[in-house]
Symmetry: C2
Subunit: 303 residues, 2 copies
């Protein structure tokens, strides 16, 4: 079975050690994740925030970190400046990954999207989660469960492209993409079925490449060959989805939480669509999950 | 842990044996379910359809069924007539539960909704699924994952009432209802959060009674006390939902399939909102699931 631990191994095996810029790093949870990432030799870290506070917290996490050769501390007066400096470091190419520390998501995203010095590209930002689900063979990417509320077709196309890039970075050459709906047939009363059909056509016409899109599919047809066959959905890709495209943030969030709480899945996640990957872990995330997110972001940054 | 098997026991323990009217019963899967229900002494059956074909199939399932005292066969020339006669039998009070046999869902629902002899009430029909989820203590009702595509507030209120009736029938005196969203705060850009807040107010004002509604909630806050506490959501009901109200059919269908395929849950389901409960199992459902659905419908019919 594909595992998230293998992403950590892949990231640790990269030739050039990447640099992660942490915006507002004065937080024991964040610094705990930094410590674990350093132990796994995943990256070097540039920590932005109140230098004195960061040093105090580093000492309390592990005093050896204070003079760790892969840690650099850059003083910033407040959260906003920390975010701005961290983003600019990534913009300039001195760092490869942006990581959120102890500040509101909105504050860091505002700097990411800044038109002068930010990381904005032509595409939208989207959240890509990679799950290791007990009993399911491939890594299962779910998008977008956290950023885009009710994406329209062209936004969904970008969401697919962002996720496909992440899958490629994890070594999945031609991911199988399933735009989910409540049914597997096109029904004009259900917009997700129309969007799914359009995404398939965009794939056929080369508007979305590097993947194989089949939809609309209900979740069972997307992840169970038996269920797909039962519905008469044939082909080598049926029931073997790598990437699930959810129609709304609610459907995605419910799937995400169901996988975590009921299916005992593990997860790592990254924000795609900026010039560099962004890691937005929160305090409530497991330490393991923060590491998986970092590994995923590092692989994406090097792809 | 609450179990679906206990619903079968409760249904089998009822004093007056209920009658189930099966529309278009000439199907070996349906008759297999009838056989199992008879073995559990759940109900008596009135089978509508081509009598000769039903007898042939009954004999192939189990020849003892041909003269079983709790089976009555009523001849019908086609699916539509079978549906019509079965619905009328329930309408007249001679049967307590309507069960779909070998015919399209649309055909039987058309008869259910017939204004002259159907089972229509003032409320909408909605699908209520009862899950037994490994690791989760209560039975978990999910609605509406199958019938209403994108219900508005007043439809959601009816969907809640329909599910609360089902929970009461299963012995849950005051079910905890969680209207799900992607977040647990009210956000005008996310309609499900506004509808959730309105459902809570309707509960406070007595417009929806017999339950305790708390929302908006993300799924984790609804089913995990730890997650709820982490978000500062206090109270005796936090993290202990009995009934999950999903915002759209897609969110519901994805949750339903995720529970089945990834969390290895068991399920029974019933259509609520008509004058009698309707069982719409399909060929792909496990036999066990058909029995759970029948037990649930029988309990609802006697409540």
């Amino acid at each position: 079975m594909a595992s998230l631990d293998s992403l950590i191994e892949q990231a640790a095996a990269l030739e050039n050690r990447p640099v992660v810029a942490v915006a507002s790093a004065a937080d024991s949870h964040v610094l705990g994740a930094v410590k674990m990432a350093l132990e796994r030799k995943l990256a070097a870290f540039r920590l932005f925030g109140e230098a004195k506070e960061i040093r105090t917290l580093l000492a309390s996490v592990d005093s050896h970190l204070l003079d760790h050769p892969s840690i650099e501390i850059v003083d910033a007066t407040d959260q906003r400046q920390a975010a701005q400096l961290a983003v600019q470091t990534v913009s300039s190419g001195e760092a490869d990954v942006l990581m959120k520390g102890n500040l509101p998501t909105a504050t860091i995203l505002k700097e990411v999207l800044n038109r002068d010095y930010g990381l904005r590209k032509e595409t939208i930002l989207s959240h890509v989660a990679a799950f290791e689900v007990p009993g399911y063979e491939p890594l299962l990417f779910v998008t977008d469960a956290a950023m885009n509320i009710a994406p329209d077709l062209m936004e969904k196309a970008q969401i697919v492209r962002n996720a496909v890039q992440a899958a490629h970075a994890c070594g999945i050459e031609k991911p199988i993409v399933a735009p989910l709906a409540a049914v597997e047939t096109v029904n004009p009363a259900m917009q997700p079925t129309l969007d799914a059909a359009a995404l398939v056509a965009m794939n056929h016409r080369g508007q979305i490449s590097g993947c194989f899109i089949d939809g609309p599919l209900a979740l069972d047809n997307a992840v169970s060959q038996e269920a797909a066959e039962h519905k008469g959905i044939a082909g080598e890709t049926a029931g073997k989805a790598d990437i699930l495209i959810v129609p709304t943030i609610e459907a995605g969030n419910i799937l995400y939480k169901s996988l975590m709480y009921f299916a005992k899945a593990k997860v790592g996640a990254v924000i795609q669509g900026a010039k560099a990957p962004v890691v937005l872990t929160s305090r409530s995330d497991h330490m393991e999950s923060k590491l998986y997110s970092l590994a995923l972001a590092i692989l994406v940054s090097k792809n």
